[in-house]
Amino acid sequence: MTFEWIQIPYALLTVFIILNYGMIMTAIMQKIGARVGGRYGIPVWQNYIDLVKNWALRTKITHGVMFYLGPVFRLTGGLGLILFVPTIYGSVMHQNFSYSGDLILALYFIFFGTLGMALGAGESGHPHSAIGVSRGLAQVTAAELPLALAVFSISLQYQTLNITEIVAAQQGSIFNWTLFTNPLAVIAAMFGFVGTMMRSPFDVVLAPQEIPIGPPTEYHSAYLALMQTNRVIFPIAKTIIYMNLFFGGATGWGAFAVKVFALYFVTVFIGVVHPRFRVEQSIRFFLKWGLPVGILAIMAV
Amino acid sequence: MNTVDEILDFAIEREQQAADFYSSLADRAQSAWMKEMLLSFSQEEMRHKGKLKSVKLGDRLLKADQHVQDLKVSDYLVDIEPTADISLQDALIVAMKREKAAYRLYSDMARTIDDPELKQMFLGLAQEEAKHKLYFEVQYDDQIMRDN
């Protein structure tokens, strides 16, 4: 497959759809969580209003160039992730540039956003940001370790790093999904998934009770809006990768919506009922439970 | 007395007499404040006279339909002969009795007369006198019967 200009507007359309989907889905997730707490929660369109409001705030205080670039990097990470994985398998419009990207690139983008954030937050000079960033980096690294092993495992299994091909290999029957063909790898990967979605018990990066809100402490108005945008795109992009790698991808928007929702819900399901790990506890948790499973997965293959 | 005006003139004359009576009594009174007192009675009568005059001129009307309370204070009190050293209590009794007599007079006249207009006039005058009597009765009640 080769690059064509028409793919750029197609990709933008994909991003737009994902953005809106993410907005509404995260709101629904919040409502579900609120329901467990016994309340109704925010209106589903609340995220849009917040976004508009933050764009409309007038005061902008900057702490330097990196402070400004932080959210941009972060958004780039999210967007890049989407652009180089096929959102809808087999769709011309929504396969993005997936033919040119592979898993390594995707993993890089996952990390890229975090790093950008780290730089920006570090620039803000707020100690809570700094602590949050150091925690974030440590935890993400630890959480990605099982994921990396799982990725390694399935790349051995499918003999490719190209996501499109991996998805293709899972088509046909539900039992072709990696979930069933290589369950150990999926379990290992899910450790990484849960660990990087910033939900308890692994939300020590934001940890409102400890370091008020972590890295974004100093971010406000348009910067914050940018981060909010990212915060709906990035988890979905990550979820898409998991969906593609382990759950057979999506061949239509319907399957996409259901699978992303289900995967995302896993984190909510765990998060709502658990307190938060301390950072070294979560690292230890990943090393103790995630790592062996990942190694087992490789061994199994 | 066959016309309204005549009746009124008669009544006015009576008020004038009453006023004269009190002022002459005041002239003879020994006590300083009884002079004052009796003069004020006299003035009260002159006020009544003025009122009747204005009725005669048509400035105001006498109302006959209104009920005037009769406290009956004077009914059981003894008759007093006005003297020079009359006391306040006695002066009030005299005044009450005089007004009562006037009331009787007009009431009787009203009873004997057939002409409804005149009858109305007499009743009105009787009413006036009843009011005057009530005034003195109330004063008696307040000033003399303070503890009773």
Partner: protein, 378 residues
């Protein structure tokens, strides 16, 4: 015991000065912790208070005895009733007024309800401090149900101003018993859920076990009282040791634990909530429905309390709460000192326990000590 703080050379770059509060979600109320950290580890902690200082003790010196009654409840915001009771008790002791039995029962009911409400708030706090927001949602709501009961009984949700010197301000409303029982049942059901989600949660256990251990010998040195003391293995409870009100007629257990860490303290409090419900049920059953609820009082507008001094204490949710009052026979009090347990727990003890823990644990540690800044500063 006082130990000199290690001299920290901030310019060395190894250390980071970190302020938690006063505007910080992890701090209970409005106070600040000045942490010196090395990495995530705290090497020095200093408590800063005074953000809520209103000078109550000064204000009370210039108000008459009845005028002090509405003001004392403001001293500890989440738990005003104990102040009301203690103030009433201290004045009653100095004047020799005895509140009637019915009032004593109603007061006990009131105090135990307050204790339950306060514990519910704390339960939410400990959940939230460790990132379990759901528990917080539940408990604050159930506390609100108790506040509804208070509103019905006393006329206000938070500052009840119900226990006056001499008795209480009104009788229990009609049908209060059923509604109260209903709320108690709901709270009890909730407590079992909380046990499932919080106390039986491996993450929570991991976080709290071994956190902030109070050695038994520290208890007297630091003046630690209440559940914090009982979690260290001491069987001391003023309700049993020096019974006031009608506690000698109620059945309840003194809950203790031995581990003396954050989990043990939480568990002691959790069980005390069950004991509270048990006591409340007894109160509801046995509170007299007839009889006076106020002693004969002098004219309160110029109420002269005889000269004297005394100290009255009670077991509040956090420990020994006491009022020390000195009077000189005038219409005004000479001196009041309010002894709140948070005073030692949040300052000396917190400063000691925080050293060596993780930044992430300070909030949880504070909540596990159950401190309220307003009663420190008064």
């Amino acid at each position: 015991m006082f130990e000199p703080t290690p001299q920290v050379d901030l310019s060395s770059g190894k250390y980071l000065k970190l302020w938690q509060g006063p505007q910080h979600p992890g701090i209970t109320g409005n106070m600040a912790l000045e942490l010196t950290t090395m990495g995530d580890e705290i090497v020095d902690c200093k408590t800063h208070v005074g953000y809520l200082h209103r000078g109550f003790e000064k204000l009370m010196e210039r108000r008459t005895f009845i005028q002090n009654f509405p003001i004392v409840c403001r001293i500890a915001v989440p738990e005003p009733t104990f102040n009301e009771y203690l103030y009433a008790a201290v004045v009653e002791e100095l004047t020799g007024i005895e509140s009637p039995e019915r009032a004593e029962w109603i007061r006990t009911l009131n105090l135990e309800l307050m204790r339950l409400a306060s514990y519910l708030m704390w339960l939410g706090g400990i959940g939230a401090a460790f990132g379990q927001g759901t528990v917080y949602q539940w408990t604050v709501t159930h506390r609100d149900y108790i506040l509804d009961l208070f509103e019905e009984m006393t006329g206000a949700r938070v500052y009840h101003m119900y226990i006056v010197p001499g008795g209480v301000r009104g009788r229990l409303p009609e049908g209060f018993e059923e509604r109260c029982n209903d709320v108690l049942n709901r709270v009890e059901k909730l407590l079992f859920d909380v046990e499932k989600v919080l106390f039986n949660n491996f993450v929570f256990k991991k976080r709290t076990k071994g956190l902030g251990v109070i050695a038994p010998e520290m208890v007297d040195q630091y003046g630690i009282t209440g559940p914090n003391q009982r979690a260290a293995g001491f069987v001391r409870d003023l309700r049993r040791d020096a019974p006031y009100l009608v506690y000698d007629q109620l059945e309840f257990d003194v809950i203790t634990a031995t581990e003396s860490d954050a989990y043990a303290r939480s568990w002691v409090r959790y069980q005390e909530m069950h004991q509270g419900i048990r006591m409340l049920r007894q109160c509801l059953e046995r509170t007299p429905r007839e009889g006076p609820f106020q002693a004969r009082m002098p004219n309160v507008l110029h109420w002269e309390v005889p000269a004297g001094e005394t100290y009255v204490k009670a077991e509040c949710t956090r420990g020994e709460y006491g009022y020390y009052m000195v009077t000189d026979g005038s219409e005004y009090v000479r001196r009041v000192h309010v002894r709140g347990p948070s005073y030692t727990h949040a300052i000396a003890l917190m400063e000691k326990l925080a050293v060596g823990t993780n930044i992430a644990d300070t909030a949880g540690l504070m909540v596990s000590l159950h401190t309220y800044p307003p009663e420190i500063e008064r």
